[in-house]
């Protein structure tokens, strides 16, 4: 393992100390726990509050989207580990502005168990909490088992549109509906060229040959759909787009947002090479790209690879995507 570290056990907390030092006006934490991150101005009275949470190791997911126009709070776990129900509850209490709280997070068992417990505790304190699970990874299960799919980079679009709806004064019902509709129109698929290393483990959890790639691998290294020889950027883009559009058909005239996301160790240049082909393929189908997002949005430590997300838009979702947002990692 070769990482810039002081102490593997303090990886998460020292990252957070740096983050709070860098963004004092934007972020704070509640209950004396660095891992209970909230907007510095929380609670925003009269606004539906949004929260997420999950393991560390995915920056900017999850905490990087806390800020005006997006999320109000985030509970942070160890690398690839769920935060505790207590931490989620502490965040929920601190961000609740009187109009309820919406949780948006990825479909992972440990997170669900803890968020559900936080929800039950909050309801005993008369805080209404709703949940929208992110299940955008088309490679993680076939369409007939879409309910079991994992949540990956597409969650950023739900943070964005639901956060905008809440910022505009939407009710809990409305904000929840926007998150659901966004995710119903969002699909992601990734490709990994190598493993990542957990700081406390110190070695890779799996290996990929020097000339291999794995299509559809999850952001914690979950097995994908196919392992094979490394292909060209164009071939990768073609296969990912074919899988996504088989699951979510696009027609000529459709408008989409596209995210080409680096998993941690892939240069921006390579992401633009991928985007080039995505753009061509969509243009050939008569699909227009309302807004491209190219960079790192949801990573997996130092994993080389990328994911592509398509978000099919409509007249209601476009202004929500374009609504101003200001967080440490994301601005519109």
């Amino acid at each position: 393992m070769k990482k810039i570290l002081n102490d593997p056990k303090r990886f998460v907390d020292e990252m957070l100390e740096g983050l709070y030092a860098a963004h004092p006006g934007m972020l704070g934490y509640t209950g004396g726990d660095l891992r209970c991150l909230v907007r510095a101005d929380a609670p925003v009275q009269g606004k539906v509050a949004l929260a997420t949470g999950g393991g560390s190791g995915h920056l900017p997911v999850f905490l990087g989207y806390v800020g005006r126009g997006m999320l109000d709070g985030c509970a942070i776990g160890d690398v690839f580990q769920s935060p505790s129900a207590d931490q989620m509850l502490a965040v929920t209490r601190q961000i609740h502005g009187g109009k309820g709280v919406l949780y948006i997070y990825g479909n992972y068992g440990g997170d669900i168990m803890n968020f559900d417990m936080a929800t039950e505790m909050a309801s005993m304190e008369d805080i209404e909490v709703r949940t929208v699970l992110v299940k955008d990874d088309v490679a993680s299960a076939p369409a007939e088992r879409a309910e079991t799919r994992r949540g990956v980079a597409g969650m950023v679009f739900a943070f964005k549109t639901a956060g905008a709806k809440a910022d505009q004064g939407g009710s809990l019902d409305e904000v929840e509906a926007v998150a659901q509709r966004t995710l119903a129109n969002t699909r992601t698929m990734g490709v990994a060229l190598g493993p990542c290393i957990l700081p406390t483990v110190g070695k890779p959890g799996f290996t990929l040959g020097e000339d291999e790639m794995e299509l559809g691998m999850g952001i914690h290294g979950e097995p994908g759909v196919r392992r094979g020889k490394l292909e060209t950027a164009d071939q990768i883009a073609e296969q990912i787009l074919a899988t996504i559009t088989a699951d979510m058909p696009l027609n000529s005239g459709d408008r989409v947002a596209v995210m080409v996301n680096g998993l941690g160790a892939t240069p921006l240049e390579e992401l633009y090479i991928l985007y080039r082909r995505v753009h061509q393929l969509l243009a050939d189908q008569g699909v227009s790209i309302h807004r491209p997002f190219i960079g790192e949005f949801a990573t997996s430590m130092e994993m080389p690879g990328a994911s592509i997300t398509l978000f099919k838009l409509d007249d209601e979702l476009i202004p929500l995507l374009d609504h101003p947002a200001h967080t440490p990692f994301f601005r519109v």
Partner: protein, 218 residues
Amino acid sequence: MDFTGTAIADALTRAAHRLVALRDRLNALDAAMGDGDSGLTAEKGATGLLEFLAANPPPADLGKWLAQAGMAYNRAAPSTMGALVATAFMRAGKEVQGKALLDAPDLARMLLAASQGIQERGKAQPGDKTILDALHPAAEAFSAAIAAGEGPEVAGQKALEAARRGRDAAIPLRSRVGRANWVGERTEGQPDPGTVLFVAALEAVLGAEPSEPGSTRA
């Protein structure tokens, strides 16, 4: 007959002490089928519960207090079992939110809600070789006895008999959920640590003598 918050706190304190004492036994059982730490987890959780009970005497709203007690258990022992115990407390507490005194029908509803909560959160059913194999029949037996007009002492004894039988009936089964599922047939013939934990806690609550797993089998 009503139970005060103090009586409930005393019963939970007895149960927690019993779990602490059960650490090595649970570890040994778990080593045969899981990762061998369920005794340690139970000890940590029970210690967290004892600390909570010492610092938080029962208030006028026992429901919220019970939910917080469950969260204290989970905080001290973050784990699947911790989450399930916390859920059981939370659901039981929800049944009596706002109440300062609990009667026997309250206790029946609390047990059933705890069982239901663990089924939902753990995605398990009775027969999967989990804590539910003892808790679920105990909850049903207690409710049936109360519904039939028995007092809480008789209902408690019936619940304990049902829990012990459930624990022992699960011994030959194969684990179907959780980590023990990974070792499959190796779990056959082994008592499930979750059922042993629940029976021991219930014995402590009722002031009954500890029983050996398998003791109800002919």
